[in-house]
Symmetry: D2
Subunit: 405 residues, 4 copies
């Protein structure tokens, strides 16, 4: 259970208090992530099939169920941060208990359905590993002390040039996208199906912080003509003038990061932007966001290398990385697409509790593709469909431009 160990390592930097507090309803306490992913194995795997398994604590079903209506009542989401007990230490003991039972189970002969469910549990845990990082970043950003989750790393002081953005052409036609069922994929990634694309062109790299500063300084946050109607309403209601976690001090842009409060690196990809901002930037640049099918079509066959959670830091594009294909597709930031999160043709919700996994969120969300510097290595693939509401900014979300071919 290498995946399970990674969660523990993320918790190593956290105190009991760090792991307990919830800084907004969208975020969850680290302790909750650690326990909920454990609860998943206990509830979905051990309780149904592991003979003689002893439930660690009956009350945890109420505490650590997320949204599975079929599995019973649960602590209301905005009150997850009020559960000061069990402590972080007790949650880690819960993890040990469940991990030991899982190891025993894994030594026995498992049928395919069970193996699939365990694999789902591991991918589910990787999702929560990313959320644990984004939620801790949000929590730490709320403290005036701006604590760092990991040691700061010096930013190279030499000004780096970002290579100009190039648009790579793709032919249209009928293409296939979606997960074909071989290897792991969440239910919403399939079924694999044909779709028709018009010719299009896709930027070879992500939009950078430097380009975003140009957007800010062109007055874009004050010009309603650039914005979706709902976006402009949010901009005004929330007083947004730059990405989440950014501040301008004495003419310089700074940002709260997992490494503490840091000056903005102009060459690194911009992140912590909403769909509204991504869309407005694209409109301001005379381009548009790609659809998810355009993105996936371009991503198929690319190596899944990137800049993953082991780093937790957004790096600029290396100068030497000058091959002709799209770069920064995986492991930098999640890329907003212009596609709403909706079912693929012939999508069917799975039976039972895991059927609540994705289908019930197919309303009011946009798809993001790629994977970020907070995503676990091994958790990305070309068919992966992440999704968030258009106003969400606390994820490592950025953008890549596209245009009609």
């Amino acid at each position: 259970m290498r995946v399970r160990l990674a969660s523990r390592q993320l918790a190593a930097n956290l105190s009991d208090a760090d792991a307990t507090v919830q800084s907004m309803p969208d975020a969850s306490p680290a302790k909750w992530h650690l326990a909920h992913t454990t609860w998943f194995f206990e509830t979905m795997v051990l309780k149904p099939v592991a003979a003689g398994y002893e439930v660690f604590d009956e009350s945890f079903n109420f505490l650590f169920n997320s949204y599975y209506e079929s599995v019973g009542e649960r602590q209301p989401r905005p009150k997850r941060g009020f559960v000061t007990r069990p402590s972080l230490a007790e949650v880690l003991a819960y993890r040990d208990h469940v991990d030991r039972a899982m190891e025993t189970l894994l030594e026995s002969d498992l049928d395919g359905d069970l193996t699939d469910l365990i694999e789902l549990g591991c991918h589910h845990e990787q999702q929560h590993q990313e959320l644990l990082l984004t939620d801790i970043l949000h929590l730490f950003s709320q403290s005036p002390l701006r604590p760092a989750f990991t040691d700061p790393e010096p930013i190279s002081s030499e000004a780096r040039e970002t290579a100009p953005m190039t648009f790579l052409p793709f032919e249209g036609g009928i293409v296939e996208i979606g997960h074909d069922g071989s290897g792991f994929g969440f239910d919403c990634e399939g079924p694999r199906h044909r779709t028709l694309l018009e010719p299009y062109r896709l930027a070879d790299r992500l939009v950078t912080n430097g380009e975003w500063i140009d957007f800010i300084e062109a007055g874009a946050y004050r010009d309603p003509m650039r914005w979706l109607s709902a976006g402009w309403a949010d901009i005004k209601a929330n007083g947004w003038t730059m990405p989440l976690y950014w501040e301008k001090r004495d003419g310089t842009y700074w940002s709260m990061t997992l490494r503490g409060f840091q000056p903005i690196d102009r060459a690194a990809p911009v992140t912590h932007i909403s769909y509204y901002e991504a869309d407005a930037f694209a409109s301001w640049a005379g381009k548009r966001l790609p659809t998810e099918a355009e993105w996936e079509n371009a991503a198929q066959g690319l190596p899944l290398s990137g800049n993953f959670a082991s780093s937790g830091r957004l790096r600029p594009l290396p100068a030497e990385d000058l091959d002709a294909g799209p770069r920064q597709m995986f492991g930098d930031c999640w890329e907003w697409t212009q596609s709403a999160f909706l079912p693929y043709p012939r999508f069917k919700t799975a039976a039972g509790a895991v059927g609540e996994y994705n289908g019930k969120f197919m309303c009011g969300q946009f798809v993001l593709r790629g994977g970020s510097c907070a995503t676990s290595e091994g958790h990305v693939r070309a068919t992966y469909r992440n999704f968030f509401p258009p106003e969400a900014r606390w994820q490592f979300s950025g953008l890549r431009l596209a245009e009609d071919g």
Copy 2:
């Protein structure tokens, strides 16, 4: 200007107070609809091109602009109901003034762009005619007296049988949808483009009130497993147990209508439901909603006959109407589709103020197709894309089922 006259006729049943009050931020006062559609002609047509046109009242630009950021400041939407002056009579005088100037203008030689703009103004006015009706219904529903907008009409007392629902098969493949630019269409209806459909089947008629009562009585409003996550949250937060305007009294379902408070007609199409409810019903029935492309593909070539605003009343399907094609496609209720309102491939926003017409709403809304009993005759077509947020219920919105072929 036959279209303009129709607005006036709608106002004939309204007092100055009826026409002034705004009963929720989503709705607008009737007076505002009457003036805003007039302002559109004055601002977009007369002021730029009509030599010697005298503006009726300079203050009306502030009062009756809807959301055109490019045309200046405006009365905040939730405060439209605080404008007690000008009175309804003055607004009607404003209409006369603008209509006379438009008539003079129409007698001259107009270039094509101008003709297009005037045509847009007429279709814009038809949209507001429908909103005037839905908004008045909402206002009257808020009064304990439940006034009727038009004379009640007796509901036939004989129990009518609704013919069983049949699913009509459609082949998949590459089809064309969208407006081709001949005749009028809103910008978002085009460009016409190819899309790929899998085989599917579409119900021959709308879901009825009687079928909806079965859904209610099966406990669907209390079962979270039926609902999109956001829908279930809304159901609980708002305490919804039946469509908007419905009430149950002594075991019988009643509803507020434009003809006052009336018992439900089981054979008529259900309406005043949200996207969430439409989706939940489809899930409960083991079916799904159609995509907008599926709907449009089925609608192409059908006669645009229906049951329009001249009636303002939802009627059951006539028993004799038993041909093999889809029925009730136009003029009964708007049909929720499972498609988010997003740009078609190669869609470009128009330049200038009319460019704010549709594009900036392409976020967070679902497409509805067809047209309702409150839609103006001549305002429907197969390519028409209406859109509302998933929680909206005050329109005449219903549903038709679909399934994979």
Copy 3:
């Protein structure tokens, strides 16, 4: 029924729409005031005692009950503005119907309780006459056209000097305050009782607009040290920088009034201020607000002359009015006192519905004394206790300073 006629005269300037709209939950539509005061006579007087009285419309009990829980359900207060029907004309017909029945009743022999109740109804109506004016002013202030309720009156262009404020000394000791039961008084004005005052001094006149401008320009609205904690929270939350209805344009202060948008008259009393602002001003000036007992002790025996609703306009103190007593005690603006609205010793709530008149509001409100330019003549007296929550600003509320003797 001279009082009843006065209400009608106030309505003469209003259209059906003016009289119907509600511009905030605290305010009520003019039509509602006109009908509710009528409902009071119908419900409390005619229905119980007038033989053969025919109720004008059964539905009006639901529509026009204000807050009498004992008299049944009622239209929720924030939805009073959704009642477009009955029209203003019908409400006036309702008034005629009830007035005729009241005239018949008044020709008969009435017992004392009934006479008292009718007198209460007249005073109740006078209260609503004032509210009708303050509520119309609020409504008209929400319209960008800023309509005038009455004809504007030129403000004398010559700069007027305000006489310096003088503090009049009052000895302490045991004094009597409160209504002694002779003549009309609301229940909360009594019983008359002894209270102990320390020596104090009371300003001879009200604080003026000019003095208030000094307070603004000294930065008081930006200095938290001046404010009650709840007041400072409101100042910040609402962005208050001057009294309600004020605006600064090109260095000059203007205000929305019943006579339309007008430049501020520096010599007139300041009004439309909250308790928080009155308290902060007094603190800034090194003084305090008087208690209600101090005010009443000073007011006893003064003539009830003033500047009443017949004028509806705040006038400066006439220069010639230089006698030695306190001036502007009645009929300019309501004066905030530092006394919470609480029961006098031995106060008992009246039995029945009229018992809901005042007692149930004895929480969270401050007492105002005097009477304003919008108060009906004949409605003021030294014992009168008006009350509003500390944040209320839409009444004609101002202040008079006091200090310890």
Copy 4:
């Protein structure tokens, strides 16, 4: 510094997480209470006068200032729970640092003003000790596990009879109340002054849980006629049907307490009620709440013995305690009075930061007298004026009845 030690003892039962979380904006984290009281000594005493004092951490001024506008910016109150660092252990180290410096200072010759300030700091700390308990109770009540702060104590199973309530007569006349400046008192307790009382009678004991259950079961929470208007609005908006922390299970009333979830003891005083509930109970019982002057007049000269924080538990009245005077005046629960929290005659706000202590809260609050089972011993006196808004229920607040003499 015995007072300082008591705070530490309260913290002994708390984990880092327990001490960090904030369960509502009205409450503060335990860690915050521990640090803020320390900050008070550091900021008000050590920094101004202790030569060579080294500030423990400069950032703590921002973190642990409560509401002193004059001492600079501060962490917004609703975000106090987001400060996971410093940890509880670091806050305790901060306490040690400041305590050592204070001990050094106390060995030197101090002038009277400084001694007064230090005494104020100790009383201030005692106030926060009580808040720490009430805030932890609120936090623990939000957790589905309902942890106990201290060990549960068995409730005697034998049914106890509560002696009937007796009303003790007090003569009216001019009495003196308020703090006379000898010994410690908060600024708002003075100056001592004369006030005039009418004859009155005061209950010899507090209202019990058993009597409150009668009130509940008489339907009082459903009868609007019993309630202040604002109280009834709160009752309905919040769905209150019993005191805070109470639940009814299988016909028995239970309550969350510092000793965990416990059955209600009918003989113990009722607590965790709002002013609205206290007032409604008194009205239902045909009595009224006492004024604060009536309460203080009765309390003068009584021994300050009670049932203090050492116990943290509300006990019934001992049967043997049958002397003729008022009982349970101190150390059971805070008793709501019908007096608004307003300045006494000739009250002056102190200069400097401590002047923000009480005066700025003199609006919208009611006075409570006595002291509760969570109050520190040595912190009560007859002149003590506690105050809370009428809707507050998370304090140990109860009531004693009064009536006119």
